[in-house]
């Protein structure tokens, strides 16, 4: 089957899609968007997290055909500006914060954490102008497993990104 949807602002199509394959597979293997990572394929690890019609979801648990006509935003779409990849484009604020806080070790879980953090900041700083506290951060990221960092630096990174977003908001 052919599946057409919008990813990171661009309409894309994939042909010869097997109906039982996941959106994750379509993104990585058919559309050349390897940012979303394939680790557990059962929704346990969160490393394939994408925005699906504005809500975060594990792309390994969305059937390819369910993406037809939908809006998908992957980690590649968090960088500033438009386009398929992140090369040559400045990182987004959440990405910068992860780099600065040392929240990345092997990096495999990072794309999922970035998307989920972006969503958390949208729902907290963005929606109510208030940064999330530790408990809220831990809850929001509960479905994203990291086997390297012990999470502390990730939480630091989320605080840093939230602070900056709040400042940018109040200064605007």
């Amino acid at each position: 089957m052919r599946v057409t949807f919008n990813v990171n602002g661009e309409d894309v199509s994939a042909d010869n899609v097997w109906p039982g394959e996941s959106l994750l597979y379509v993104l990585r293997e058919r559309l050349g968007l390897p940012g979303s990572k394939n680790a557990c394929e059962q929704g346990e690890c969160g490393s394939c997290t994408v925005y699906f019609d504005g809500e975060t979801a594990c792309s390994c648990m969305i059937a390819a055909g369910q993406a037809q006509g939908r809006q998908v935003r992957t980690v590649e779409g968090l960088a500033q500006g438009h386009g398929k990849g992140t090369d040559e484009r400045p990182l987004g604020a959440v990405q910068e914060a992860f780099v600065e806080a040392g929240a990345v070790q092997c990096g495999f879980c990072t794309p999922g954490l970035l998307v989920q953090t972006d969503d958390l900041l949208e729902r907290t700083v963005g929606a109510r102008g208030q940064a999330p506290d530790d408990a809220e951060i831990r809850e929001a990221l509960a479905g994203n497993l990291c086997r390297c960092t012990g999470y502390e630096k990730i939480i630091d990174a989320v605080h840093l990104a939230a602070e900056r977003r709040a400042q940018a908001g109040s200064g605007a």
Binding site: G20, S22, E41, G43, E55, M61, I62, A63, Q116, A140
Partner: protein, 289 residues
């Protein structure tokens, strides 16, 4: 494999009629795992995510009609006061990403004995709505689970909604796992007190081949409870209630816990849920809902 994308309920029912072995998919949180791991190769997938009626919820004749495809996130956000036990159970499902996709319809369709919503549906005497090209019918949740992963849903039927009675008293849900998130219940328990009928509802998860009630415990508590004032129960009564709940369980030993531990945990959760409910009952906050 064929992928069908009905855009109305009528089309979906036609599809299920034409493909009785077709697997309905909504949030995909169970079905896609089976496909990804090659545990299942259905001839047909019937995608229900484009059927608007399934994603709707609202009051209907004194109950809440919750479309089978409403996500847990929306249940947590919207049904905290109108369906407290179900909202509490939904809050414990997996992670935010999974709650954005998973649905009560999927929980009922999969009918895992550990499914998070079953105890709440049993305790609150919810009703499952099923539809086929032959028409619609309703089955009480208390008659829905037949045997391990087998339900009253016939092969040409789709689960379209659950009907949730208006809460008249306290409703609780508790779940045991190794952490707060991303766990399949070791065991779970839900309790609902109904001061109008002076009856007690219970639901036990991961405690038997199907979700079950503890009917003897319900009758015991209904007789012992001070429905007038909600005064504190004696320690012996609370303990007896916990023991009766545990004795309704027929759990197994598996990698998540032993049968003995499950029974112990059920008694503890039952006692806690009862003490929370007594406190709530006296506050009366939910009684005038």
């Amino acid at each position: 494999m064929e992928f069908l994308s009905p855009s109305t309920l009528e089309e979906a029912l036609e599809a299920k009629h034409a493909h009785p072995d077709g697997v309905p998919i909504m949030g995909g949180t169970d079905v896609m795992v089976e496909l990804n791991f090659d545990k299942r190769r259905p001839q047909t997938l019937i995608d229900l995510s484009r059927v608007p009626e399934l994603a709707e919820s609202g009051p209907e004749q004194g109950r809440i009609r919750l479309g089978a495809g409403v996500s847990y996130t929306r249940i947590v956000d919207g049904l905290g006061t109108s369906a407290p036990a179900l909202a509490k159970a939904s809050r414990t499902v997996a992670s935010p990403q999974i709650r954005n996709r998973g649905t009560v319809g999927g929980n009922l369709g999969g009918a895992s004995p550990a499914g998070d919503t079953h105890p709440a549906l049993l305790a609150t005497d919810a009703v499952v709505e099923l539809a086929s090209v032959r028409g619609r019918r309703t089955v009480p949740a208390r008659e829905f689970y037949l045997s391990l992963r087998e339900t009253a849903c016939r092969e040409d039927e789709l689960i379209t909604a659950v009907l949730l009675p208006e809460p008249t008293g306290p409703q609780q849900f508790a779940k045991i796992g190794t952490r707060n998130s991303m766990v399949i219940a070791v065991t779970s328990f839900s309790l609902a007190l109904d001061p109008h009928t002076r009856t007690v509802g219970t639901g036990l998860g991961a405690a038997a081949p199907t979700p079950v009630r503890a009917e003897t415990a319900e009758e015991f508590l209904a007789a012992e409870f001070d429905w007038e004032n909600g005064s504190n129960l004696s320690e012996a009564t609370v303990r007896r209630f916990g023991d009766l709940v545990a004795s309704a369980a027929r759990p197994i030993d598996d990698q998540r816990g032993s049968a003995e531990y499950r029974k112990h945990a059920l008694a503890v959760m039952a006692r806690r849920a009862l003490s929370w409910s007594v406190t709530d009952y006296r506050k009366g906050a939910t009684r005038c809902a």
